[in-house]
Symmetry: C3
């Protein structure tokens, strides 16, 4: 049994979802861990993590539109000194996820057929985002 | 320290919540792990995982009605070629959970008194759902 | 590799967010684990866990107001025999988190600069809340 830490740096292109499944798998390959679990952890509070259908881009656009509508940028927020997209980004993060733990079996993440791991960027401007990976197993 | 993987196959009966706490515990019993944690991971993007009150069925019905209302089936989705319940199911999954990690102490999950683990099915038709369990401990 | 369990008892002061980052870190220090991960698990269904911006109290108040508005206490719930704040508390729990797994590197949680761990109390009355910590590592 061992612990292997690794890190991804992902350039977001402003608001939207960006798949990171292949990058996470490549770090598991590098770790040598064959059986265990990987925890994917986003080190930010204005973007988040989500699992999503990875085949239909239209489905992801619907998700993004849903959050735009549920947590609008033009609502009356008390915390409004970092831009109109700042406070909605924190709320959207709270409604989604920061960490996700995924089984590793025979060296591969045991995801469903259409299941992908996505960084969900909530800020308008591009950001460099840090995602920590903790792989525990053997 | 060891890793034990196991899998549940759960028949959902269409939309709604279905408790899986006892099935998860029985797989922990079988694993022989006495101290550690279990990660429950749903391998799908149109159903999800949630913790809920396990004593009051009315409370679960309120949760289900809330999601029906928050993410309506009759909204105007771009991704609409797999049925009116498909796109809402992905959004409801994003708003809830895919993985949950629960402590195991003296061979038992350390859940609160009224706390249960539920599969939350978002599709209208019955589905056979796969849930992966990764038990890490000693 | 080892597993260390520990527990926090947190007094909530009624509805709102309360930071627990320092308490979690102090239990990691005590555990002696230098590399691994900690799972923070809330043993309740009427309060929850969230990550949040820990610098701006106004941002937390906006989050709290958002949930008050999204899941109102005066809606018509079927499960209404434990007070007007009971059913909304379960729904708000489902929309946020019960467990979160955070990397431990060189003895410290690898949180982002502004990232804190919060107990999110959804009941009006003060409650004594139990949070289980499972630290796995070496």
């Amino acid at each position: 049994m061992c612990v292997v830490h690794d890190r991804l740096e992902v350039e977001s292109n402003g608001k939207g979802t960006r798949e990171i499944t292949a990058e996470v798998q490549s770090r598991i390959d590098k770790s040598g861990v064959r059986n265990g679990a990987v925890t994917v952890f986003v080190q930010h509070t204005s973007c988040s993590l989500t699992m999503m259908e990875n085949a239909a881009p239209a489905a992801r656009r619907d998700v993004e539109r849903f959050f735009d509508s549920l947590v609008p940028e033009d609502a009356d927020y008390e915390h409004d000194d970092e831009g109109v997209d700042d406070m909605p980004s924190h709320i959207r993060m709270v409604l989604t996820r920061t960490s996700e733990t995924i089984p590793i079996v025979d060296g591969k993440m045991r995801l469903g057929t259409w299941q992908g791991i996505f960084l969900f960027e909530h800020r308008r401007a591009p950001h460099r985002r840090r995602i920590w990976l903790t792989i525990i197993g053997e």
